[in-house]
Symmetry: D3
Subunit: 249 residues, 6 copies
């Protein structure tokens, strides 16, 4: 099966990290297709950037539709996930969503750990959007500058280990989610230095997406995720406008 | 004072309705400045359209910044409100937000009534985002086609009255919010046909925006609404890119 | 328009503070009418005193009814607010209520800061009564004696600044509410020493009351805030007994 | 042991009902001491009346303090309970509180049934105040006039049975609380006509009060129910003023 | 009346502690009947052991049914309580349940204090199951080895006092529950060293059980606690199999 | 990989249904190993039976440990799941858990549909235990006798379709979970008669278990799911006693 890894950030280095990490767990016969946002910011970190990235993500999925079996929204705050699930008939999974759902099978509560303080409000909002606040022990971020978004996981490795351990000892986390596309793959290196299971967002998303393709759920034609009726628009990307206008057959 | 009424829908007829309704309650010396989205859809009704509208709203505010004292996100689901509050230093109020806050001063719980079933998921999500689900008795929508978004409030007037009354008798609503920019001004015509207070979103937003300008709160330099640091971007509108890059002085 | 500032505490010095602070933001044409409780305690600080003050507040509003356009319950725990909203047909706003609603437009969560530990349980209960616990980051009180209720804001100014800053750095407050009638006006002096917006209860209440007068909502004749039917009573103040008996025309 | 049954309503007929019902379950050696409110309304039914009754209840307990081992706030909405628990060192139990706590031992969720629609908002608020909303399946009230508060339980007996049965079949109630002092004793007559356990507020309160006297908990000198420091007051009943001023030794 | 104290732990020393503590508050005419689990673990401390103990508790009650008026599940996590309430027609009270309900009458929130860290997850789950999480300020456990389960309350007395005091000063507890059957009776010795009321689980359970016997609620024949229909089984204890098969008349 | 399908019901016909359904989605190389409870009831339907089944499930896993890579608790209420996750180091997934987690990726809220009213309380408790109540639109059960637990899905097929459709039209379900081991495989037959995605518990569990094996999370040595220390026991199955005593190496 083919799974689109749609990175709504513009940094291709992050896309590379995502693919490498996802391929560590992908089953035989699964092909991960990388895609990097053509516009936006190098890495989404705030509510404003998430708003921009949500629209870009929809354009990306509209552009590539028909070439894959399932899609992953490959930024931790799942920008555009709800809209994507409305518009399209293939399964779509968010990286935050998948990480939290997998974490639920491994412990009573999870903590979310990442590398930049600016991410916290956005992450907190996506946790709430998914109805997972009751399972979330804490969200902890490093609060210091870093050199490069592509290599932040190497630069801050020990500090992220320490932060993860603090969520266990102080916040009661049973599981730690290493959040943010730039941290993809970190868990495989540091797993033996944290005493609880670690969850890597892209790996969790690959596992969930493979499962969904196999379960093969029908597209809703009722409920809040049925496809909206056709509508005209102005100034949108041609592919997205076509989907919204039902001219995408 | 000058208040920007930023309509993230592309229908100018709706903008006209908003201005007319808002001016019924604006205080002496308040000027409402209309602005209609230059791209997007005629009226936002789904999660996908709200994602698109959120990004457009940020572009609109960036474009006009410096020419007004406060801004209103003039669509009921408040697209882009969080991001706007991060990026800019003027007060920004959402129509859903203002309607719900005013409703809280008039009753134990409010219901939200509008004209199209497609709006319900989006509205439910904005209620939850504002932490107001506990005060919301119900969200009820008409579920039938309408001729024109500009005149839907006239076409469906009696049906909306009936629906509002049902929220009072069946859902226990103490207050009814007539939601959605296309219903602006309707409350003034039907108020005596519903036995509880009605709240009009744009009127509530004008009242709240005027209050905020007078209270003159400082821009946060800490917390989750401090302005994010400067960041490069690709392919955004020049005005918004300048704001994100801190090149907007 | 005329707005009654009904202080359910018996200290006139506090009433003076309230008027002075409220007048800093009142619009042109707004007259704030002061009223101080004729019986009760100098400043309400506990559940027991709030129970007493609630009844006194109703007597106060009954006494002055017909001479103003809206009323403010001018103690932070909003004693008697619910009952007042049932009995009377003018808009009534509580100081805690208004402060929290305004704070909601300025941040994700607010903290409440005040000068006496005894106030915390009462404040926590009014936050919950308004359904605002989910937006409240913390309630922090000084815990030390003070010389005079009328001048406590001067005596403790720096300690209150420090406490406000702690709610930002430790509790994640996006907004700080300076709570309690005796702190009215303090925010205008210390605003530049706290990195997030400060909300002054009486100022927020004046802004909300002005807005409500302009929005002119109808009195409910259904729902939980419709006026109760006439009832006899024993031993109540004549004005309040007349209102309860529907003999107040 | 002596238990004060403090009825904050002014109707002595209701007090008689309370005593008769409570004595059906009081243990050997327990004496129920009746007390009827000297001022207020015949039966408290609204938020405004509850505010008045809360203050009266405090006066009543202050008046009789020292003559009993525990007190019952003998109106279903528990007016004044929080304040009483602060001021006094004897155990105090509310009728709503006791009924809900006992109901929790008998089922997953309870419904509250009573005779007058006006009571619903007050009851809903006391359920929330006690943190019991999650256990409350529904609150259902008759909505029709009655002849006499003293005899309403006889007049409406069959209608209350029908209403109780509806909470079981439609709302999923495992237990039904017959709420309101005027319904005291009704459960003993209709128990075999409702298929789930019935809880009578005064009987539950007597059982809880007896238990508390036997458990003999200490008066808190820390936490939110420690006794407030002494305070002057103006215009309160002499007994209550003495308690507030710590001149009650 | 006769009350079965069914200890689902296999340690008879703990049963002795429970009886001694319960008898301190039992009313005249109340006989506490001790029973110790015939199989299982010396003291239940984990989810796995609670699962085992739940089944054993049902066997114990089935074995002794008909010889008592009410039963107490005499381990703090109330193993088997829900199932017991379905199967049997006598009142059953859990020790955690009773302690929390009594604590609710003594303060806004309670903390739970015990002697072994392993107990925390189980206790947290029973608090949630009872819908009491909103009233629970904290759960604090000692985290160090002890010599004997029978005497742990003596060995750790001062450390438990210190821990209880921390819940008051740091977590805002108004009441402290000394949890776990091995701590039965400790409260009577240390009450004057903690500034808020202490609740002893077995004493609270005895008080609640006595009250329930006196209130004499009917067995539900509707709702979620009606008795399940007869069912065959394989390999269960004869007494429990007979109850499940309705062959226990 | 080998996945143990541990059916805690004693009916082998149900085990056969589970295997057949699970094999429809199992990936290449996955072997499902069936196991049927050696004692207990034919199908668990109540809190009491779930308590018994929880203990039996632990015995089953202890018996077969070492022969598989992951285990599925193959009854919808997930009996024994928490305890199993403590005791063992292989991944364990519950059928209710997996169904709800998968449903979360397909819609805003799910409803649970099954064949016997007795199941509702147990199912409601497992939804709450997993923290999923906020995502659950409703739980609806048929309420009528059936001939055979092995064939109930054939006998009631049309009635279950109708019930599922009611959850969509009346409760707002975006997804329907067909709950209970006896309904395994039904979704594949009726999917085109319900307008939203259907989730089959065993299929969801197989997908989640396969994903977990591939993600290969470490066994926690901290947090609430670390393995408890060794403990003696009396009268348990030898295999389970050995695990509890750490004599299982």
């Amino acid at each position: 099966m083919k799974i689109l890894v749609a990175n709504p950030n513009t940094s291709t280095g992050v896309t590379d990290r995502l693919l490498a990490s996802g391929n560590l767990v992908a089953g035989p016969g699964t092909e991960l297709m990388p895609m990097t946002a053509p516009r936006g910011v190098p890495y989404i970190a705030t509510r404003a950037e998430a708003a921009i990235g949500s629209a870009v993500l929809l354009e990306m999925l509209a552009e590539k539709r028909g070439t894959f079996d399932a899609a992953i929204v490959a930024a931790f705050g799942d920008p555009g996930l709800g809209g994507a699930r409305e518009l399209f008939d293939f399964p779509v999974v968010g990286m935050a969503e998948a990480a939290m759902l997998v974490a639920c099978t491994l412990g009573r509560s999870f903590s979310i750990v990442s590398f930049a303080k600016a991410l916290e409000p956005w992450f907190a909002e996506i946790v709430a959007w998914h109805g997972m606040s009751g399972r979330c022990a804490s969200i902890r971020m490093l609060d210091e500058p870093f050199v490069s978004i592509n290599d932040v996981q190497d630069e801050k490795e020990q500090k992220l280990v320490d932060l993860a351990n603090r969520t266990v000892s102080q916040d009661g986390a049973d599981v730690v989610i290493l959040a943010g596309a730039p941290l993809a793959g970190l868990g495989n290196r540091i797993g033996d230095r944290v005493p609880v299971p670690l969850v890597d967002g892209i790996q969790a998303a690959v596992a969930m997406a493979e499962g969904l393709v196999r379960l093969n759920p029908r597209k809703a034609i009722a409920g809040t995720y049925r496809r909206p009726g056709p509508k005209d628009s102005t100034g949108l990307s041609p592919a997205l406008a076509a989907v919204i206008a039902h001219k995408d057959a």
